[in-house]
Symmetry: C2
Subunit: 336 residues, 2 copies
């Protein structure tokens, strides 16, 4: 068995992260990672009639460009593993419709980038696929109107609210590579749903932090690496959730503070860009991974990374029925 400990799967074979492609909106382009993002859209619709169509186009474009820049054909990709925040994951399914690649639809809210890379890695290691593409997206305008309030109403945002990233990131995983020096997925921890009762849809960071802490802790225990990662990055907890996750881990005797960061605090200059508690959305961890973390690995600025995307499975329908927001997190252990 390739399972170690309670929840972690180790790769018996090389699973290379061959390349990544990222696309994002103007706000993300103006942020600290702007120069690293492959393509910055000119506006929030990108020639489409609606934000939803724009988001689907972002996913399609991410995958198409990832494929073409590597001189691949669509038929070289065995499977596309994708999901997004929109109901019925329409961005992913519409992108998959255009791409004509066999499609595994996933839903892990903002944890989806790690979920897709985790399932993809296992399918490659298990000998089923040679090449898979993992892709997610989010769009600020679609997310606000689906989950909260229409933008047109101009409501004031809470200080613990996060700004949903407009962007998409696609990653190519492969069993083959002539250059053995590329980053490889070494282990995957699939998380449990953790719900400590947060009911405030403007405080997703607090809802997700316990799940992030739980999965990071489980990965560290299962792999017995004793915090051997150069960098541990959670998905999109933002400033509020990040401090809670840190505190929860410290309470359990795990101090990762010096090597811990969060995608939700990286992509915007939070103060200058009025992002309140930071960034969120499926696109947040996807774009930060593809444009920043992956490049840090390539440049050997870090050699090991625990990438833990986090999701708040928030449903407006059941929130109105008094339910809280379940959180989940999945961890991907990567090393050069």
């Amino acid at each position: 068995m390739k399972k170690i400990g309670k929840q972690t799967y180790v790769m018996a074979n090389d699973v290379f992260i061959r390349d990544a492609y990222t696309i994002a909106g103007t706000k993300e382009g103006e942020g600290p990672l702007g120069d690293n993002i492959d393509y910055i859209m000119s506006d929030s619709t990108w020639g489409e009639k609606t934000w939803e169509k724009c988001e689907a186009k972002m996913q399609q474009y991410s995958v198409e460009n990832l494929i073409s820049k590597n001189n691949l054909k669509k038929s070289d990709i065995d499977l596309m593993l994708a999901g997004d925040l929109l109901n019925q994951i329409v961005s992913s399914s519409f992108a998959a419709r255009s791409l004509e690649i066999p499609f595994i639809g996933l839903y892990g809210a903002c944890s989806t980038m790690a979920l897709s890379m985790g399932v993809g890695a296992l399918l490659i290691d298990g000998g089923f696929a040679e090449n898979v593409v993992c892709v997610t997206s989010s769009h600020f305008c679609c997310a606000e109107r689906q989950y909260r309030i229409p933008l047109e109403s101009g409501g004031q945002r809470h200080m613990c609210a996060q700004w949903t990233v407009t962007g998409s990131g696609a990653v190519w995983l492969s069993k083959n590579n002539d250059n053995k020096d590329l980053p490889k997925i070494k282990n995957v921890t699939f998380g449990k749903i953790i719900d400590l009762g947060v009911t405030d849809s403007n405080n997703m960071g607090a809802a997700m932090a316990p799940a992030a802490a739980d999965t990071i802790r489980q990965n560290i225990i299962d792999t017995n690496v004793n915090i051997d990662y150069d960098l541990i990055v959670s998905g999109d907890l933002g400033t509020v959730g990040k401090s809670i996750a840190n505190k929860l881990l410290q309470d359990e005797g795990i101090n990762i503070e010096k090597k811990y960061d969060d995608c939700g605090t990286i992509i915007y200059d939070i103060d200058k860009q009025d992002a309140h508690a930071g960034a969120s959305g499926c696109g947040c961890s996807a774009v930060v991974f593809g444009s920043f973390l992956y490049k840090k690995l390539l440049k050997k600025e870090i050699n090991t990374l625990l990438f833990t995307a986090t999701g708040a499975l928030h449903s407006p329908t059941v929130s109105l029925q008094g339910e809280s927001v379940p959180g989940i997190a999945h961890s991907i252990g990567i090393s050069n």
Copy 2:
């Protein structure tokens, strides 16, 4: 590689379908499969305040009973693979919250039962998991108000509309079994998104039929079995979609009519129960598989089965934007 042809994965090891558990509503209980369903709820809320909470309880109950009737503990299950029709797959995530099993959230609309069994089978065959639970659900009342119109309005149903099954089915897949005679998953075909432009949300059968035909055809070509299955069953095309799928396959020279059936035409007595074009919903193929098809395999009434659940990735939001309904289907090849 375990991939054969273009889209099909073959198991190198035994992946046993160890057991199944099904639960459904009163209408399903009064139908032809009523006596085979493990538990029939007394009403549409089952003691909960809302239909959504009832649906989550159904999933939870399916898995708990599947586990307890086999004298397992929750900790014996490596992964729960689940999805449903509700936005943010809340039935699955709330069930997973109670069950505390590591969770892979999937979205394939009504194709989710096959999608979960497909991914689960690969994870077992690949040596990652010993035991997984695959589960889905749907609820007529939740689905109608989310996708179409509030039930309270009493709108007349179209004759090509299908009735969303209120029910949940859970399946236990395992690498271990002393009795080698149990049904085993032999191959999995993950489908592509196929969309021939159907925009009528009351005719999901027509939207899904091309995807069903495409995946069934691909499985037959890839495995080169030349229609060697005793029975080929699609997910929930209903009477309208079933006849279209048959016609599309015949047009390609594949005649499966004599051994072909559809879950959407099996679970209700369509004429007596006023089900119009038949049944649909994630719960449809899950309940029909667990209560009927699996038992036919156990009794050796059939020895090989191609189970092809079908999904219409219909989104009310993008339908209002003029978009059509993409379809998908995933096939699971099973033999004794």
